[in-house]
Subunit: 265 residues, 2 copies
């Protein structure tokens, strides 16, 4: 098992070197390097986040993505001129998207996959684990921090320039927040991987039953000023709030159950 | 451990009865009932999917959701009039969102959490597992099938009525696709849970390193006509494609590694 993981890692990193030279998103090189320097992990796919304009068939749905053309893509902030230029090339239904940082990390053992809790605590609240037959355990870093705005139909732009200016600001703000979260994740990861602290990480309980189907308040407990050490502190039990928030990047009330996470201690 | 899980389940289902009577989304009652009828599981939170208009502070970011007001919410399709009425109430930055089906299921054992593979195979491709210190294992059903469209700024509508009409169509299409996926999930789940077939489920490999940072083709292998029995068939090894698709609801090329998933056999 151990030899097999090491072999998988070597094969994967060889491919990484061949295909990505000069291509690895500069915003996450440090994260990828840190993870790959640990014997328990190797990254299998990553994207630092991107602003994209894709052009699809009329009524292009998610299942028809192979028919899409990319009008614009950036892993940095963009300008309104960038988007207008891209939209000028639309002949179908163009959609502006912001997609946040995504990372998949293959883990030596299931215990190592608690890496996903570092991601959750860093703001990537849809992070989790998948496990495969051959013992392939993947920690996925994910969030729902996004934008998806249809902008043209059958090649005809549906909005004014001023609206595209506004969208550009929004997309750039999301990119800035995304980059802050990546940095937070990197710092939390450094701290977690040092001194073998990984097993003591805390993670909020997943959403409980009380928070659904009731009115408007959505909890957000992500603390922008969180210090690295906070990763290890037990979260205060929060008051129960009536929320409707099993969606997206929100933390949820803690039930009466234990609220900290140590994997298989 | 077994008694503790049963106790957690009883407590959770009691709360469900008290808080949700009449409120459980009608589109997923059958899914929730099926899952809760199994001794290995209980649902902790769910939402069938929704179209919402939320109004936030200027430059409202994801971390400021507690300042948002809900102008409109529907678990069904909506009309353009619904959205225009909601937008008339905006005094800040209104955003139209489509959020797909979300489900969290607490599992008796880690092996039971392969439920998430049924979700992945049904189109909810961001599904996964989180594991807690106290042995609390949650299978989360998630996808990125969404819409997020800023529509007003400081109370001023930024788009024309015709654009809102178009967005209404798009949101409704996403709701229809979402409901189809829920039905697919329910049927796959019925099949998987019967005859203890759950352990033989197949899941595509998570994204590999080859599929990043290269051109426009995004694979979509979700087959709308997939039969329940396909859940159990080993996926054909696919050709490697150069894609840039560790994001969202796309399947990815299979590496040379085994592509089927049986958890801890």
């Amino acid at each position: 098992m151990e030899q097999r993981f090491s072999r998988w890692k070597q094969q994967s990193l060889n491919k990484l070197d061949q295909s990505k030279k000069g291509n690895l998103d500069r915003h996450i090189q440090h994260v990828v390097s840190l993870i790959n320097s640990c014997q328990e992990y190797f990254t299998t796919s990553s994207c630092s986040g991107r602003i994209i304009l894709i052009d699809g068939d009329s009524l292009c749905s998610d299942v028809q993505k192979q028919n899409c053309v990319w009008l614009f893509v950036s892993h940095e902030k963009c300008t309104s001129d960038d988007l207008m230029s891209g939209l000028a090339g639309s002949s179908g239904d163009a959609v502006l998207k912001f997609e946040p940082f995504v990372l998949h990390v293959q883990c030596r053992r299931l215990e190592d996959a608690q890496l996903h809790s570092v991601a959750v605590n860093s703001g990537f609240r849809n992070s989790g684990i998948t496990v495969g037959k051959t013992g392939k355990t993947i920690a996925a870093v994910r969030s729902t921090h996004c934008l998806e705005v249809p902008l043209s139909h059958q090649g005809k732009l549906l909005v004014e320039r001023e609206y595209v200016d506004f969208l550009t600001q929004i997309a750039n703000q999301k990119m800035e927040e995304n980059l802050r979260r990546i940095q937070r994740f990197y710092e939390n990861l450094q701290s977690a991987l040092s001194a073998e602290k990984l097993q003591k990480l805390q993670i909020p309980d997943p959403p409980g039953s009380h928070e659904l189907h009731d009115p408007p308040h959505m909890l957000e407990t992500e603390n922008e000023d969180r210090k690295e050490s906070d990763v290890y502190k037990r979260r205060r039990k929060r008051e129960q709030h009536q929320t409707n928030c099993c969606h997206g990047d929100v933390d949820n009330s803690i039930t009466e159950l234990d609220d900290c996470l140590d994997l298989f201690l």
